[in-house]
Structures are given as C-alpha cells and as structure tokens.
C-alpha cells in the first residue's frame, strides 16, 4: 500500500494543490492497487486507460489554475451509472455488452469537477441485494476478515448492493466511490466495511442515467472514508436536473462548512421501536455508546416514537418489486443487451429474460407483478402506499421533537458469503433500519463507530430532515470525531 492510497480525498486535494504529488501519480497508485486487489472482485470493468487520460488532463487543468472541486481524485463508479463509451452492466447478464452513448448526470458532474474514473464497481444485480452475492459477475469480497472462528476462514460480504464500491474504498483501491441506495445499499455496505456512506434526500441527486431499480426509492450518494469526504463529494454530485422530474430544485449548500461545528443543543432522537426483537446486545451497546458520544459533544438525547416503522420492510418489499417489475420490462432483447432467439416474440422474451436475469431479480419481478395484478393491487400495492404515508407522518412528528435521529445502520456485522443465502427473508432483514428512510425520502448517513466482538466494523446511522443534510453532516462529523474509528481492514491493496 502506498501512502497515496491511504489518504482521504480531502488530504489528497491538499497534496495536489501543494504539488506534493500529481493526479497522474495518484491515478497510477490507485490503478496498481486496483490491479493488486482483483481477488476481491470489486470492479466489473477496470478503466485504467481512461483514468490515466483523465489524470493527465487533471494535472493540466491544475497547472492552468482551473482545477475543479475534486480534480484528480480517483473514484470507483458503481456499475449502475451509465458511463459514456464504457460498458455498463448493472451486474446483470441481460445488459450484455451494453455501452451507453451518454453519461449519467451525476458522473458527468463528478467528471466536470475533475474526478478520475478507475472503473465500474461490482454490485448486486440491478442493485437487488444486501450482499453483492447476486451479481452476474460473481460476488465482491470484503477486505475485512473476522476474528470469530466461523468467519475467520470464510470470505465476507462487503454488503450490498454497493458492495464493489464499499470493498474498493475500504480496501484502499479507490479513494471514494459512488453508490446508490434504494433500501440501504449505500449505508449497509458502509457499515459492513467501516466507511462512511451517505444517502441524501430523495431528489437531491439526479437519477438520470442511473439504471433504475425502484424509481421512488433510488438515490445516488457518496461512499468515502471520512465524513468530510462525503460532504465534499455530495456537493459535487447533488443538484437539480431538468431531465429528472423527481429531482428537486433546491440550492446545494457547501456541506463542508457544517463539519466540526458545535452540536451543542442539537436534539438527537432515539426511536424506541428500533429496539427490534432479536437486536443483538452488541448492536444495542454500540447504539447507546453512540448516543453517549453525541450527548458528551453537547447534544440532547430525546426519546421519540416511530410506531409504523415495523411495517417498513413489508411495505418496501411490495413497493420496490412493484416498481422494479415495471422498470425492468425494457430488458426484452429487442433493442440492446442480451437477446436469446425464440420461435416468436413471446418465446424470445421468455428465453432472453430467463437467461438474462438472475434468481433474485426474477423473484422480485414476480413479486412485483403479483402485487400490481388486478385483484391484488388494493390489498398490496395500495395498502403499502397508505402505510408508507403513515411512516412519513411518524417521521414528521418525530422531527418536531428532534433535529436528527440516531439508529444502528444494520442489525449485524458482515456475514460470510454463503450465509443467509437460502432464506431471502433473513437477507431482507439486513435493511430493517435503512429502508424506512427510502420510503419517506429522508437523508441518512452511516458512520463507522466501532468493531463487533468478531472484529468487524459496525456503523451507526443518522437520519435528518428532508434537504437538511447540513445538520446531518454536523452530527455525523461529531460522531466521527468522538468514535475515532481508525481500524483498518486486514486486506489493504498493495500491501
């Protein structure tokens, strides 16, 4: 591992500005790290040539005094973002060698700010999963390994769906990465790998050019090793986009200015209902520890109630598959991607979609199709939307009493590849703390706070009001400072 791969984005920008090193050197170090970390399968497509080209251009810009906000920073881009002239797979076989002729709004903003793309990171197929196991290109593997006897000898998941991104950032072979979060896909992998993952308010980042999973839930966000990096990167990613009707025309503040400011008097809500059955003592302890850290930093801890939270998973597993079943109808073998011929049109659809989609995606398409069907729509989809409204009301009430909410990010540390795989319900439970935010569109951030008894990272989640990421970053930065999480994974690229 070189020094250049273990520094934060913020540090790297200082180094670049001070001519301590060049963007080309930074890119080379990361390309070498990426190549040495192939065993983790974090990248589906590596783009070292593009990275070098971008790095050279970055150095030229900096020399000309025109450096952007993240000029020269090497990133992993989740392979759900369409990238111009670079194959985009969504980790699915059905997209085949699909190579977009267009650049997603968010990656365009990152490139406009000077970012360098190392490659496209692995994910669960169409972002459907919490483990990165459902990828057509094989699972991404966490750079962490556990102390406990079961996990010690097994490969661990980096979380999902943004597992390639979390593995690369934690394993020091991407300085930061983009993720997308539909039910926890940024925050849960961040928690599993000891990094920071930020899901902004729905509508904060444009969805244009990001392969859709569930339109009303999907949101792009940064995955970084520090809260400051997340603040910096989100500012670049965010902003109104007239090409996305659900993006919101709100000014994007300089989130970095929130960092390190006092949280004295800030009210932090602790939802009593989040003490779900079976929550481990370890998680509970960490949660209380996190609350104590914030209290010590001057915040006031208040108990709040989110009574409908317990229905969140059920609601999510109706709404997300319903939208997905429709969003994924376009992968039909007609215009792009995989086509498996058939005797007639219906056969071609069947052959293409049976071969092109993996088991989990097929399962969700079936569930989604079912809940939207005549005779079931009212009982499932409509009811789920009503409960969603109740969950939203819960949060509105809660935010009358507090400024941010603290919860665990995930109910456990990372599990091993192969674990929980035969029981989808067990797998879905991973998202129990993260899913409610997607249902109501609120921003959330996972901050690494400690290690579990198995030696694996655990994060806590802070939830904010809509478009109040400033408060969230303020609290997150206080939590980060207090927790002083400086554990590093056993695997660090290049070592």
């Amino acid at each position: 591992m070189s020094d250049l791969t273990d520094i934060s984005v913020t540090e790297a920008l200082v180094g670049l500005a001070g001519k301590k090193f060049s963007a080309v050197e930074l890119a080379k170090a990361h390309i070498a790290a990426m190549e040495s970390a192939r065993a983790l399968n974090a990248f589906i497509t590596e783009t070292p040539k593009l990275a070098m080209k971008q790095a050279i251009e970055s150095d030229a810009r900096r020399a000309a005094g025109r450096a952007g906000a993240m000029d020269g920073i090497p990133l992993g881009i989740k392979d759900l973002y369409c990238t111009k002239d670079v194959r985009t797979t969504a980790a699915s076989h059905i997209l085949g060698e699909f190579t977009p002729t267009y650049e997603s709004t968010v990656t365009q903003k990152l490139f406009d700010a000077g970012c360098v793309m190392l490659g496209k990171t692995n994910l669960d197929e169409f972002a459907m999963g919490s483990s990165n196991i459902t990828s057509y290109f094989g699972p991404a593997i966490s750079p962490w390994s556990g102390k406990d006897p079961v996990k010690a000898n097994r490969k661990l998941v980096p979380g999902g769906s943004s597992g390639g991104s979390s593995a690369a950032v934690a394993g020091r072979f991407a300085m930061a990465a983009t993720g997308t979060d539909t039910g926890g896909s940024i925050r849960q992998p961040a928690s599993f790998t000891g990094i920071v993952g930020m899901k902004p308010t729905y509508g904060r980042c444009s969805r244009w050019g990001i392969v859709a999973f569930a339109s009303s839930l999907d949101q792009a966000g940064p995955m970084t090793r520090t809260v400051a990096d997340a603040a910096l990167m989100l500012r670049v990613m965010a902003g109104f986009d007239s090409k996305d009707s659900t993006s919101v025309d709100q000014a994007v503040p300089d989130f970095v200015t929130a960092l390190g400011t006092s949280i004295k008097g800030m009210k932090i809500g602790i939802p009593r209902e989040y003490r779900i059955d079976g929550i481990s003592a370890e998680i509970d302890n960490l949660w209380q520890k996190g609350a104590a850290m914030l209290r010590d930093a001057g915040a006031e801890i208040v108990e709040i109630s989110l009574p409908h939270t317990k229905y969140s998973l059920a609601v999510y597993y109706i709404i997300a598959p319903a939208e997905a079943s429709s969003n994924l109808a376009r992968y039909d073998g007609v215009r792009y991607g995989l086509r498996v011929p058939g005797e007639n049109l219906i056969n071609m659809y069947e052959n293409t979609r049976a071969e092109g989609f993996g088991k989990e995606v097929r399962r969700r398409i079936l569930i989604g199709t079912y809940v939207l069907s005549a005779g079931y729509y009212d009982a499932y989809y409509l009811k789920a939307q009503k409960v969603r409204r109740c969950i939203r009301n819960d949060f509105e009430e809660a935010f009358k009493k507090c400024d941010a909410i603290l919860t665990p990010t995930a109910p456990s540390t990372a599990f091993a590849i192969g674990e929980k795989q035969d029981d989808p319900i067990q797998m879905y439970l991973n998202d129990v703390f993260t899913v409610p935010l997607n249902l109501v569109g609120l921003p959330g951030i996972s901050v690494p706070v400690g290690l579990g008894s198995d030696g694996l990272p655990l994060g806590l989640q802070l939830i904010g009001r809509a478009f109040d990421e400033m408060t969230l970053f303020k609290a997150a930065s206080a939590l980060e400072k207090a927790a002083n999480f400086n554990h590093k994974p056993p695997f660090m690229a290049g070592t």
Binding site: R207, D244, A374
Partner: protein, 484 residues
C-alpha cells in the same frame, strides 16, 4: 333515431366512441424527439423513446396546454391535479414495456359535444373524460418473411384519448360526432384530425337493446377503425351481427373485435377472459401533474370562436339558414373562406355560392378550400357582379366555370365574353315582341289558361338574348304584355 329492424322487432344501438387524437406539438409527450409525419423509420427517436437504461420522462408542457385547450373546447372540467400511470404490457413496439397514460385521474373530466344532424335537429353527446398518453411505435410485418421490423418514430408521441358517453344511437350520429370533434380540435389547433395519417383513430363500443329497453346490452369494442366511413360501416355490420345473435337466442360475448376493411366485417380479436392485466400504477418517475387555475383561465382567454358559436353568429349576422351555417362552420377553412366572401356583401348570396357552386367545384376537382383555384376575393367579385345586376345568377355560373378553367377574374371574363346583363327595357321589349309574334298560337293557349307556358316564353327570350336579359325585368315586361 334509427332502429335496426330484426326478425322479432326493432333494436336500438348504443354507441360510445374512444378517439385517440394526436396532439399537435413539435415534440413528443415525454421527450424532445420530433413528431412530424412521414420521416424515415426511426429518424425521430430519442433515448427516452427507445427506453434506454436510466432514461427518464419529462412532461412536455405544450402537450399539457393542448389537452387543456381541447378540454375547454369541449366545455369540460379541467382537473387541476392529474396523475400519469403506467400501463404495463410487453410488445416489440413498446420499448419500456409500459405506456405512460392517465388511468384514474385524467387531466380533463366531463364535457359535451353538440351534434348537428342532417335533419336539422341537434343532440348533445356527453364526454366522459380526456386523458394524455403516449403512442406506441409501429410494427412492420411486411419487410421480411421471418422478422418484424419496428419503427419507433411514433413511440412516445402525445395522444389525447377522448372517451364519449354511450350516448349515440346510430352510425350517422357516430359520424357526426367524429366530424364535430375533429372540427373542434382543428379550430383549436390541438389535433390536425387527419385520419389517413393516423393522427385521429377511433375505437367503437357498441351494444344492442330492444327498442324501449333501458338496460344496456353486452358490448363489443371494435378497435382502430381509421376513417369515418369505416366507423359507420363497422357499426352497420356489427349492429346486425349482434341482433342476429340475440334473436337467435344467443348471447353477445364481451370482446374486442377488429374491423376488416377488405372483407367489410368485424372479427373477434380477444375475449374478456383473454384481456390483458395492465397492472396500472402511478408512474414513479413523474410527479402528479398540477395546474394553476390562473394558467387554465389564461388559456381559456385565447380560445378561438368554436363551431357552435360561429354557427350562431352566422345565423344572426348573415341571416343564414341553420343548415347552411352548419355546413360552413364544419371546417374552419370553409368558415373563414365564407366570411371573406361575405364581408360587405349579401351573406345569404355568399353562402349560396360557397356551399353550392364553390363546394361542388372543389368536390369535382378533389381539392380543398386551402388549395382552391378560386380565391375568396375572386368569388366575392363574382358575387358583387350578381348583386349589382351586372350579370344574372345563371350567367354567373358560366362565369364561375370560366374562372375555374382560366383563373381569370369575374369582371374581366364578363367583359371579355360580353356577358353583361341586358337591363335596357327597349331591347328586352323588342325581343319579347318578336317571340310573342312568332308563337302566337302559344300566346292564345296561355291566355286560355295554360299558365305554365310563361316559362316557355321566358326561355325563348333568354335564348335570343344569349341569357343576358335581366330576369326580373324580363318577367315583369312579359307578364305585362301577356296580360294586356
């Protein structure tokens, strides 16, 4: 009301129409791609239309405005909040696998259309709703023996689906409804109504019941009937088919049928059981469409005079008969043409000429008002010559023919051909005297009571004057002479 005569009695048709009208706009409903008719296949397709990964729809404000304009023109409620839903089904010419439509909350609610029927009566037909939706692409099965080609130029083009109440009772009413709806949309500039180019398409819902019954029978839907004539033929065929079934003790199956233009019959496409489950749900890529009442009011201020208002005004201001006024307002171009001819002239005379000789000539030449060989100004000049008695109405017809052929002006033709009407009493009197002398026998017959011979004398005088004698003067003089 026309009833269908069956073996066992009379049957009443109950007809409702669903019209798909292509919105006049230069871009599609949710993308910036062009909409012009006749472009090369797949030349007008954006990434959104072809449903590429990550593409998102953005509503075209112009299309919304057009839908609201149409709603206002149909005296309909405008819903300030409406919702776009996805109608899910797989087909090769439907790239996203769903059509964005409005299912439960359309942009326009209840309205009405007044039909003017040939017998001079009028009937009000209810409009149930109007909603915006996307068109699909076109599958072409005739380009290759074993493959289907797809043209996505039409995919995503904005359509207004306009649904009527089951208020029509005959093919004639259905035809009148389509013509009136088309006229209103053309007046508004919201749809060109061109059925041949597919910018207006019609599905017919038809059921039969015994005369006097109030309960509705089971209906069939006949899809995509693409001309007014075919709509009427399809209704004719389908009504008899259903009556035969019902009188034979059978039931009408609720199903979707197809109009076969070559065979002139309707054919079952799919039954109710085979109907798709479209799994409608609100499109999560789009927010509910919210309109501002003031914006709607502003659009209302810009509405042009519509056919019904224009018809009333023509009757009031020009003294036209209801039927003539109806014929003239049926197309905005005709109405405008008429007004240009009638301006500062005798409105009734102008109407007679426009609806009579002028329309007749267009019909014969296969031309429309817009590409007419005779301008409104030229026809006005001809009308002037009649009004100031330079020529008679009959001579005017010849002049009009000559105008069509030569493109010359009426006054010039009258001078050139020496057609100026003779109003000189002496010269007409001389001609009368000659005729009466030459036909002394007929004069005697006339005087003994054979009044009908008056016309004969008129004809003879006209013949000798080359038709140029002023008819009024001739009549008066002739009467005087014969009765003296």
């Amino acid at each position: 009301m026309a009833y269908v005569q069956g073996q066992t009695g009379e049957w009443e048709m109950v007809i409702g129409l669903e019209v798909h009208a292509q919105v006049t706009s230069n871009a599609k409903l949710f993308s910036g791609a062009a909409t012009e008719f006749g472009a090369a296949p797949n030349a007008q397709v954006s990434l959104v239309d072809a449903a590429f990964p990550g593409m998102l729809p953005v509503i075209n404000g112009k299309c919304v405005e057009q839908a609201v304009r149409t709603g206002l023109g149909l005296q309909a409620e405008i819903n300030l909040v409406s919702v776009f839903d996805r109608k899910n089904y797989f087909y090769a010419d439907l790239p996203p696998g769903y059509q964005i439509s409005q299912y439960k909350n359309p942009i326009v609610g209840k309205g009405e259309i007044v039909l003017d029927l040939a017998d001079g009566t009028s009937r009000t037909i209810g409009i149930t709703r109007l909603h915006l939706e996307q068109d699909a692409g076109k599958s072409m099965h005739d380009q290759s023996p074993n493959e289907t080609y797809v043209d996505l130029n039409r995919a995503g083009v904005a359509l207004m689906e306009i649904v009527s109440e089951p208020d029509m009772r005959s093919g004639e009413e259905a035809g009148a409804y389509l013509k009136k709806l088309r006229a209103i949309m053309r007046y508004l500039g919201t749809c060109d109504g061109n059925m041949e180019e597919g910018s207006m398409r019609c599905d017919v819902n038809l059921s039969m019941r015994r005369k006097g019954d109030t309960k509705l029978g089971t209906r069939c839907e006949i899809k995509n009937v693409n001309s007014i004539r075919f709509v009427q033929q399809a209704i004719e065929f389908e009504s008899h088919r259903q009556v035969e079934l019902l009188e034979g003790g059978n039931v009408v199956k609720q199903e979707t049928r197809l109009w076969d233009t070559t065979k002139g019959e309707t054919r079952a496409m799919r039954s109710k059981e085979e109907a798709h489950d479209y799994r409608y749900f609100p499109d999560p890529d789009l927010l509910p469409l919210k309109l501002d009442q003031k914006w709607v009011n502003d659009i209302k201020m810009t509405l042009p005079e519509l056919p019904d208002q224009k018809k009333d005004r023509f009757i009031r201001d020009y003294g036209l008969k209801s039927y003539d006024a109806m014929v003239l307002v049926a197309e905005r171009a005709s109405a405008d043409f008429f007004e240009a001819v009638a301006k500062g002239r005798d409105g009734k005379l102008a109407a007679n000429w426009v609806t009579g000789e002028f329309f007749g000539a267009l019909n014969k030449l296969g031309k429309t008002v817009n590409d007419s060989p005779v301008s409104a100004q030229a026809l006005g000049e001809l009308v002037d010559l009649i009004s100031n008695q330079t020529i008679s109405n009959r001579i005017a017809k010849d002049v009009f023919e000559a105008m069509l052929e030569t493109g010359k002006g009426a006054a010039a033709l009258v001078e050139e051909k020496g057609l100026r009407q003779v109003t000189d009493l002496g010269s007409i009197e001389k001609s009368i005297d000659e005729i009466l002398t030459a036909h002394a026998d007929k004069v005697a017959e006339y005087k003994s009571g054979k009044d009908k011979l008056f016309g004969f004398f008129v004809g003879q005088v006209m013949k000798t004057t080359g038709g140029k004698a002023n008819p009024a003067v001739l009549n008066e003089l002739l009467k005087k002479k014969l009765n003296s």
